[in-house]
Symmetry: C2
Subunit: 649 residues, 2 copies
């Protein structure tokens, strides 16, 4: 794929917000020049939240300033992710000012990198003696991975090779320290990311060593479950580390056993999907079938047993982690924005190995719901946690729900999500379609145009659509010189799909959820489908959703907000399938809402001063109309209750 | 009341267990001689759980041994509560061996107390310079209170005044340090208890200074919400304390504003009810109407908005605390055994001020459910947390539920509950009946006999009952010399109550839930009632219980266990009121179970590999019979799911 332009009005709004608001805003935050209150992602005295200090850390590490490191061990990655999103933004619309901002950061990174290629401001400033010696938490290779991803994006956007050189030097440094040879470290970073980044560098350079190093990091993980603990004991023995040696929960790091033996999605959700995405990539390029099967097992476990209807993952705040099959609480879960972004990576990487519509379905579910829910429509406020049910009273007065916030804060002490969102949405072009040697697969429908490289030819693809609110898509393929297969996804939420080729209705074959069109010359394709309102029910073992439905139309999962429906959302029971209505809202803009009849239990006089009643399980109800809005739009108007799963008569 | 003997077979089993198992067992634990694994009350590396060390701490503080303090700051209270339960046990059945055990502890306490009356092993051993200077967490007066309570019980049981002398010396020490005078400390202990204990000492000695000191501690609390924080700053300034000064959440300590201004039950649940019980006592003896009104407001808030059907309180593990009105989650709550014990104290103290059946109802609800649920039927395993819904998978794999254990551990690092249970059940005689100048109120029905002091006479009361499983009660009052009012509680769970006086049916007047009988001479009273099975529904704002019922018969709330019903208890829907059945179980003994028809949702083939289904909210069900057992008996047979609230068709 090359030169893909997204013209879609739904997505342009986000891309414009990122260019005009998020990128300059995050620049200010990283430079501690934004006048904001930094929030904690949960109630915890230990969370650093006074300032970002991210750029300052680099200046100190580079010797340009005096001072101490501030913030998380992985604060550097905020800068790298900013740079990646800035580069993506620049690629979409070049801009001299942005180029200068990027250049400043690139130079600072060059200055910070040490002679031998090492770079990690925390360890450079505070604990050089512990470099690569506390891998369970150090995030050195995690940050390094983000540096490499930024480098690739920056090079693609500007042609400037400086950060590619920095990346290669860093990889060399890593190769000197890690590997199967005696004397080297036989373990991987506590937070997966380098594996994924090395694949990007490999895809750019075609240099096999990067692919092999990624594979090695994947394969060494969990080989010795005591690896991290042994590092700490060794540090203690060598007097490198004071203080109590913590007990490491290796499941959190997916390092409790070798990857190829892991059957379930466990531990920290972001780590898991970053790792799994790299597994799928490595499996593809190295034809590693065992790795592919291991990735597939993890995929199946997520999708069949541990995935929220919104595309969220991570059922608990404790370790931001998976828990167990069918455990999907709606108000204490984590559903981190970054985790759903990682799930998109994983889905996209799996597609390279096999084309099954499930990958695109999950990718889309994450993208249109939990991922973009991470960002307010002003582009300046962000969710880290994306709950399916919120009561502001509980967020405030039950510390067990303090992480499920009813409003998006401006920034976080741990600011992984905002820049991750920015880099993902500015690289949306990667997710629209993919290719094999002689086929072009279209996964997502939106106004766009661009070229795709097949083995024998470059195909120009253009979409003109009424998406995401109506199922009318005009596709054209041009520059066709050889026959090829055009495969169009029929979304799981679509009904009555029909296809016209150059204005003639055709019968079409569907394989794995894609309709197959044999194309021999430039062709205009019309794809039409309905978007019926869907009512989802959960597996009987998902106890939180018993008797409840979640509403979806098109790619959007819907929710109820107090703003439209009053409070006590749990006391409603939907009595009919809600129906669509076009809305133009002052704050939310244009979208489709859904309205449907419901019964609401009333707190009548008989309940004053009474908490329980015996032998009276009839409640007084009143008729109400429920208004649903797309989930990603919640928490943009007022502070109030929200819920996705609603009781159904 | 005097010389009350409980002959009831239901309660004798508990009293015998405490005498024969718990008291000697806890003695061994406190002496670190029991071969057990000490459990943590929740997953937290910081919880001391290697040993008890409680007696050892005294020996070290007394200078009999060398060493350091181990365990919590309030470890001493385990010893005092043991002593109190031992004394109560001795009062029920004197025993030379027990007397010697008590004497050893009493001597050790005497040896530990310092010249000026101070006693608190942690501060004596580790930080004498910080005595009374870290009151937010020091538990010095909390432990002191338990010492006084033990002293009163020990004196009543043995006539030995040694610990009363220790207590008076301690109170003198407290009076020297605390009080309104300049130079003294103007604040109270972070954990209420001394207030309650001083009332016991006052009731024993009639010395008004104890009542006044209790009132002063109640009234000083929250007058300066920064009091605790100022102590810490002062310590820092004086170089008495190293390390970071924590931020104190004064709501946790009910010290955020003066007591008389507090409208709701907030903060740590045990602290709250201990405080409220003392408030009610002080209000009664000092005719402090404002204090009484404040206590009543707290009572109303608990009973009308924050009380579990099982008599549990504390909706969150975070701070073991209350949260907000109608927030009563069943699987993440705390419902500490000690909190329900404190709720009994509070109810009993409120009764002194006014006779309303609600106090006895709540007291009984706590006693027969959450309180005795705290103890296994072997007398050697204990619950700290008493959940209303448990899934062992969640207890193990969701750290947010690690505190809601599916089995009772042998002991805890923080061992407040087991000895609290022992002292409460061995003082059950206090809760059966109470008196006013010319009335005897009977609150609880069980086989017993004893005398009660009215203004003009001593009345002998005797009960012969089929309680707690059948509503047949033969009461007799004898030694009647003057007319008096006998008031018998008609429990909220009773139906068709009838009364016979000396074998003749009589019409009776009911006032505030008690039937009034004017007694002029020795009389035999027969009280008969049915115990219909009740189905409780919750207030519409208790979202967790929507569509669900809790089952009760007599004083017992019932629950479902996996042992009787299989797993996935959430997938049942009760379709009829369950009916009683007499059971004699090998492990559980004799009790009444309840059985009723239900539908169970089946996980059929159509759900294999599917997490959500669109537009299909019908589930396949099968007919099942549900078996309920009394809540307090749960977790005595096997590890499995349990739930109190069950879906109702």
């Amino acid at each position: 794929m090359m030169n893909i332009k997204i013209n879609d009005s739904f997505w342009q709004r986000y891309i414009k917000l990122i260019r005009e608001e998020m990128v300059p805003y995050q620049w200010n935050v990283l430079h501690d020049q934004a006048d904001i209150i930094i929030d904690k992602e949960r109630d915890d005295e230990g969370i650093p939240s006074e300032k970002s200090n991210a750029i300052e850390n680099f200046k100190i590490a580079a010797g340009q300033k005096e001072g101490n490191h501030y913030g998380w061990l992985f604060q550097d990655s905020d800068v790298y992710k900013w740079l990646e999103s800035a580069a993506n933004t620049y690629a979409i619309k070049p801009d001299e000012k942005l180029k200068l901002m990027m250049a400043e950061v690139v130079s600072l990174i060059e200055d910070t990198q040490e002679e031998d290629g090492y770079i990690s401001t925390y360890y450079q400033i505070e604990a050089p003696e512990l470099k690569f010696k506390r891998l369970f938490e150090s995030h050195e290779l995690y940050c390094g991975g983000h540096l490499i991803e930024a480098a690739v994006a920056h090079y693609k956007a500007t042609g400037d090779e400086r950060l590619i050189d920095v990346s290669k030097k860093l990889v060399h440094c890593i190769q000197e320290s890690f590997g199967p040879e005696e004397g080297k470290i036989h373990g991987a970073d506590g937070h997966q990311e380098i594996e994924l980044a090395l694949m990007h560098l490999y895809e750019l350079t075609n240099e096999h060593e990067y692919l092999d190093l990624s594979e090695w990091f994947l394969e060494i993980r969990g080989q010795d479950p005591d690896f991290y603990q042994k590092q700490l004991s060794e540090n203690k023995k060598m007097n490198l580390d004071q203080g109590r040696v913590p007990t490491i929960n290796t499941v959190y790091h997916q390092a409790h056993k070798p990857l190829l033996e892991q059957e379930e999605a466990v531990g920290h959700a972001v780590r898991l999907v970053y790792m799994a995405a790299a597994m799928a990539d490595v499996a593809y390029y190295n034809k590693n079938e065992k790795m592919l099967n291991a990735a597939k097992r993890i995929w199946k476990n997520i999708v069949e047993k541990r995935l929220y209807i919104t595309g969220g993952i991570g059922s608990t705040v404790h370790g931001e982690a998976f828990t167990f099959d069918y455990d999907l609480p709606n108000d204490t879960m984590y559903c981190e924005t970054c985790a759903s972004i990682g799930l998109m990576f994983f889905a996209r990487a799996m597609m390279k190995n096999e084309m099954d519509v499930e990958y695109a379905e999950v990718m889309e579910r994450a993208l249109y719901n939990t991922v973009i829910s991470g960002m307010a429509i002003d582009g300046k406020h962000f969710f880290y946690v994306n709950p399916l049910e919120v009561d502001p009273k509980a967020s405030k007065q039950d510390p067990g729900k303090s992480h499920a916030k009813p409003t998006r804060p401006s920034w976080f002490g741990c600011a992984c999500c905002p820049p991750n969102l920015a880099r993902t949405i500015t690289s949306l072009d990667r997710y629209i379609a993919s290719t094999s040697s002689d086929a072009l697969f279209v996964h997502l429908y939106m106004d766009m145009e661009g070229t795709y490289q097949l083995d024998k030819q470059t195909i120009q693809l253009k979409q003109l659509t009424k998406m995401p609110y109506e199922g009318e898509i005009d596709l054209s393929v041009s520059q066709v010189k050889h026959p090829f297969s055009l495969q169009l996804r029929i979304p799981g939420w679509a009904a009555n799909a029909s296809v016209r080729l150059n204005d003639s209705e055709v019968d079409v074959e569907q394989v794995n959820g894609y309709i197959l069109l044999s194309i021999e010359s430039d062709t205009a394709v019309s794809l039409l489908f309905d978007m019926p309102v869907m009512e989802w029910s959960s597996h009987p073992l998902v106890k939180e959703n018993k008797g409840k439905v979640a509403i979806q139309r098109g790619p959007f999962v819907y929710c109820l907000e107090e703003e439209d429906n009053g409070d006590q959302l749990h006391s409603f029971e939907l009595t009919e399938t809600p129906q669509p209505e076009q809305i133009t809202d002052e704050v939310l803009g244009k979208f489709v809402s859904l309205k449907g009849a419901a019964k609401k239990i009333i707190v009548d006089e008989s309940w004053s001063n009474v908490l329980y009643k015996a032998n009276e399980n009839k409640y007084v109800t009143e008729s109400k109309t429920l208004t649903f809005i797309p989930y990603h739009l919640w928490a943009n108007r007022s502070v109030g209750e929200m819920r996705v799963w609603v009781d159904r008569k």
